[in-house]
């Protein structure tokens, strides 16, 4: 087991494309770190640089105390699980798992022992003599895991291993991978574009965008305290509502003007974030997570305080445990360029996750109450969260 360290790492391809910018990241020994971000953000490139499948243009990558920049893949003591499993189709499950050990000239008895152990751990005993073509997606994934486990490597690298599985199997395999990692305590770097996987599996999550590291933190901290607009928009489903607003501070009282509507900000927020005073009269970004938006008709603290906004219900999705509404309001949305927004052509839609007893229907004029003690504030020029 070993820690993995990126120091000022850059990756520039021959055609000039700058895939990774000045990456500095340390993955602790035994940690499960998830690299997450949209397609093309550089997460797979970063993973492949650890593996030795991509060269490093600048900076250093260390595995343990060794700088591995010029060490070929086979000498780095890492094991990798690919999105497409990359099993050897002409070999049986047993031969696939044993192959890395045979390459290292491991004694036969040791190979048998390790392969049998891996097969037992991953419940592959019934398929040990079968070729990968006859296995299901989940079984192939377990064989790929088995091939990694037998090596007892310093680190596991996983490149979107669950992307090719159906939704139900993905949930099951997520749990199995997490459990396996906790059992083996091997440093694991896991790449995914799925933020649900990221949030549920990682000890820490590193969010990347356009080759740059945006924030690395525990899942809950990322969710509660995003450092910038990108992280705020990327983490959380449905996406955080972020709109432009003008901040007005008058003594201890504060409010934000969203279009023609005004939301009061509790004095406690200004106390916790005194830096907001520097934005008095200025336009800032206001972020509200959908779960902090409620149907005012159902009452509640926020409704009683009068912190409401009004708009027209454009979309209503009842999913049993809640109702997700998209309400058109007359405020200007703030969208980071690299976040895909399917509602982009629909105007400024404010999304709320409402109690299932809400009676709102499409076309209704909705009054939504907002929990203002869960607001997020962003500097529109830098994109950074306003802190301190």
């Amino acid at each position: 087991m070993a820690r993995i360290t990126f120091t000022n790492v850059e990756k520039i391809y021959e055609n000039g494309f700058h895939a990774v910018h000045d990456l500095n990241l340390e993955i602790a020994d035994g940690e499960f770190l998830v690299l997450v971000g949209p397609s093309g953000c550089g997460k797979s490139t970063a993973l492949r640089m650890i593996a030795g499948l991509e060269s490093i243009s600048e900076g250093t990558v260390r595995i343990g105390d060794r700088v591995v920049n010029n060490i070929p893949a086979k000498g780095r003591d890492i094991a990798m699980v690919f999105q497409s499993y990359a099993l050897y189709p002409h070999m049986t499950v047993w031969e696939n798992i044993a192959f890395p050990l045979k390459l290292r000239k491991t004694p036969k008895e040791e190979i048998n022992r390790r392969v049998d152990e891996a097969a037992r751990l991953l419940e592959l005993e019934d398929f040990i003599d079968v070729k990968p073509g006859q296995l299901s997606g989940g079984q192939r994934q377990r064989v790929a895991m088995g091939r990694s486990i037998v090596r007892q490597p310093a680190a596991f690298l996983m490149d979107e291993p669950l992307s090719n599985l159906d939704a139900k199997l993905r949930v099951q395999m997520r749990a199995e991978i997490s459990k396996l990692q906790r059992t083996l305590k091997v440093t694991t770097v896991y790449v995914t574009h799925d933020q649900v996987e990221a949030m549920t599996m990682g000890d820490r999550v590193a969010v990347l965008s356009r080759g740059s590291l945006q924030q690395v933190d525990t899942p809950q901290n990322l969710y509660d305290h995003p450092q910038n607009l990108f992280v705020a928009s990327f983490i959380g489903s449905p996406q955080m509502n972020i709109v432009e607003a003008t901040l007005r501070i008058d003594g201890d009282a504060a409010s934000v003007d969203l279009g023609s509507q005004t939301l009061a900000i509790p004095a406690s927020v200004i106390t916790v974030l005194p830096a907001l005073r520097g934005y008095d009269g200025k336009r800032i970004g206001i972020g509200v997570r959908p779960e902090n938006v409620h149907d005012a008709a159902l009452g509640g603290e926020a409704a009683a305080a009068g912190n409401t906004i009004t708009g027209t219900v454009e979309v209503r999705e009842g999913i049993g445990s809640e109702i997700v509404v998209h309400v058109l309001i007359d405020a200007t949305a703030v969208r980071p360029d690299d976040i895909d927004d399917p509602t982009a052509n629909m105007g400024t839609l404010f999304v709320g996750r409402l109690d299932p007893s809400s009676r709102l229907q499409i076309g209704d004029t909705a009054t939504l109450s907002v929990s203002t003690d869960h607001l997020h504030f962003f500097d529109l020029e830098t994109g950074l969260a306003i802190r301190g």
């Binding site: 593996a51 030795g52 499948l53 893949a73 086979k74 990798m80 690919f82 050897y88 002409h90």
Partner: protein, 301 residues
């Protein structure tokens, strides 16, 4: 329970192959199929008939072959033609053809697969230029290279020697191209996985990629065996000794030399029949792999 009204006529028009043609009668399906088979049988006969003539004539006497050339059934069955072939050193020619074909096939499997893998997966300076050169070579007619080939063989002291017959044929541009296209179609992640597992470049090729290339290798086997078995021009310029004649040059000499007087159909066609058997056997044994191999690269490439 509701009653179904009587005399309910179908209001949906009948479509498809059994739909009636307006103003005419449709051919019954059975008759259509019988007609189709009849046409296929006629074409099959056209293709097979020359082979039947070849085999039948090999067992005829010379006068019978001349008088009844188009009749595949001999009036009198005789193995005289085969006996005369044996006297004409046919067994030596056959042995030489087998030796050359086996060595050339093995050589092409080895070198073409190595070259194809290098062009598909290895990164080295000049790779694109070499790849273009391989394709360009395929455009050059073989006959243009005969005299230069002869001169090179003489310079290298390989003229009139097995080496001169075999070595120049041991790699070919078409085979390299076939293997290259197949290797390109193999997902690169499999090779990356092998590298991470600890395999070096040659081990990745030998243990992982080459076993996956079985369909392409079998295609190459068939094409190489056929090509070298049927090779004529190269052996003509590479050898002059009677002991180095193969079936093609030997039978060619028969036709133009001692038997140029008279038709001599039985002996010529007896030779042709014997020459066809090994190649036909190789093809029939491997044909399903051949067809699969011909399309394997196309599907993903």
């Amino acid at each position: 329970m509701s009653t179904v009204p009587a005399n309910t006529a179908a209001t949906e028009p009948v479509t498809g192959p059994d739909a009636p043609i307006e103003g005419g009668r449709r051919m019954p399906p059975m008759l259509k199929r019988a007609l189709a088979y009849a046409v296929l049988v006629v074409f099959a006969c056209f293709y097979i008939f020359p082979f039947l003539i070849e085999i039948g004539t090999a067992f005829k006497t010379d006068p019978d072959a001349t008088a009844n050339a188009m009749n595949p059934i001999p009036k009198t069955w005789t193995t005289d033609a085969f006996r005369r072939l044996a006297d004409a050193n046919f067994d030596r020619w056959f042995a030489n053809s087998v030796i050359v074909a086996l060595f050339v096939t093995a050589g092409r499997l080895f070198f073409d697969s190595l070259a194809g893998y290098a062009l598909a997966r290895l990164h080295f300076r000049g790779r694109k230029a070499i790849g273009a050169a391989v394709i360009a070579v395929m455009a050059v007619p073989g006959v243009v290279l005969l005299i230069p080939k002869y001169l090179v063989l003489v310079q290298l002291h390989m003229y009139d020697h097995y080496a001169g017959m075999i070595i120049p044929l041991m790699a070919d541009a078409a085979g390299v191209f076939i293997m290259r296209q197949f290797f390109i179609s193999i997902p690169v992640e499999i090779e990356e996985a092998a590298r991470i597992d600890g395999a070096g470049t040659f081990r990745v090729f030998w243990s992982v990629v080459l076993p996956m290339a079985r369909p392409a290798l079998i295609t190459l086997t068939i094409l190489s065996f056929q090509g070298s078995w049927n090779e004529y021009a190269h052996f003509l310029v590479a050898t002059q000794s009677p002991d180095l004649k193969t079936l093609t040059t030997g039978v060619g000499g028969l036709v133009s030399g001692q038997l140029s007087a008279g038709n001599q159909f039985p002996i010529k066609l007896a030779a042709a029949t014997l020459m066809t058997i090994p190649v036909a056997a190789v093809f029939f044994i491997f044909q399903r792999y051949f067809i699969r191999g011909a399309t394997a690269g196309a599907v993903k490439g």
